[in-house]
Subunit: 207 residues, 2 copies
Amino acid sequence: MTTNIQSLHFEPKLVEEIEKVGVLKKLEMGAELMRPGMPVRSIPIILSGSLRIMRQDEGGKETFLYFLTKGDTCAMSLTCCTANRPSSVRAVAEDPTELILVPVEKLDYWMSIFPSWKTFVFQAYQRRFEDLLEAVDSLAFQKMDERIWRLLKKKAALQEKRYVYATHQELADELNTSREVVTRLLKKLEGMDKIKTHRNRIELMLK
Amino acid sequence: MTTNIQSLHFEPKLVEEIEKVGVLKKLEMGAELMRPGMPVRSIPIILSGSLRIMRQDEGGKETFLYFLTKGDTCAMSLTCCTANRPSSVRAVAEDPTELILVPVEKLDYWMSIFPSWKTFVFQAYQRRFEDLLEAVDSLAFQKMDERIWRLLKKKAALQEKRYVYATHQELADELNTSREVVTRLLKKLEGMDKIKTHRNRIELMLK
DNA sequence: ACGGGTCAGCGACAAATGTCACAATGGTCG
DNA sequence: CGACCATTGTGACATTTGTCGCTGACCCGT
């Protein structure tokens, strides 16, 4: 289900502009939109689905940062574009995802003439700061079981479902830990009746 | 030693404006400029010295995020101001520090008429994103000995000295670990000839 | 129903970090 | 000097996380 641009609180003139220069792109689940080192020539506005933003180290290990969903844009793209720097994160479609790619050049110009665009950009910065701080909290203050539990809740919330479809290995990769640790802690969560585990699928026992 | 505003690459008109409405503030070492929950009514521009930005959890545990130095401003302040939200971080003077407080109201207006201010604001966002990602890297990918070593190098670089004046307890607090662990790992670093430890002071053996 | 591959479970152990108790050291101040 | 306090050092132990080897369960295609 596509969300069209109209629903994003832009003024009509801007919607027109976006439709004129923006390129619609569809990503299937698991597709990679961006990887570290890639030049960023356009900024994405997400219409439907969700993107998982990850940080990678040189050795290829990675850690989850945050999700982007409908109406979001990637603040990293904004900073990369304006500074003409390559991406420093990886973006993967968590679900089938549709987005519009807007060329960099418009960014500045629109900021100066469309108040709603300016608001949009600043809100993007602000939200992503909050998201990053939340990622820091998770890494700095929470133990692995809590981190897994929260990740599951977020993933479930994205789809508004009680099921999360993921293997233990995938979760381990997102949290930069090992498959065995995930298995162990999921068992523990199961013992606490917070989840039920199935093959390729985890059921959340929310409330 | 004060740095005056002129050296920050603003156009003369803007410097005038800043001097007119900005309030100079001096912080002695260790003074707290901001704490989580505090309303943010002005944004700081740092003239000299440095601020240590920390994240706290509910229990009062904290973890280092990044340093701000001459010419920097706090992106958190920018986002907090524009969103009218309280601060989510703690800012402490790492050295004796001088800064100018600029009232929020000017932020938007200056953006629209002073190109150099706009550049300044966007660079601030960009730098702080990079800093936060570095903090994430540290938390996600590095072991405690590496984290300590890097923190020491940063602290030394701030003052352009080979000495870092800090107790093991203080370092432990900044890294959200315990004093004993810091002592242990400093011993290890000393064994690798990367540092020499003294009372209240650590000497870095940088080549 | 059989076979191969992916996924999950499990026990044993290693490494990193956290915690506790206490000793030793150095600096300050009366 | 002697008393006191902050700082540092150290050993023993607990907890958390990481790693290895192996087993069994499930799924799918033939």
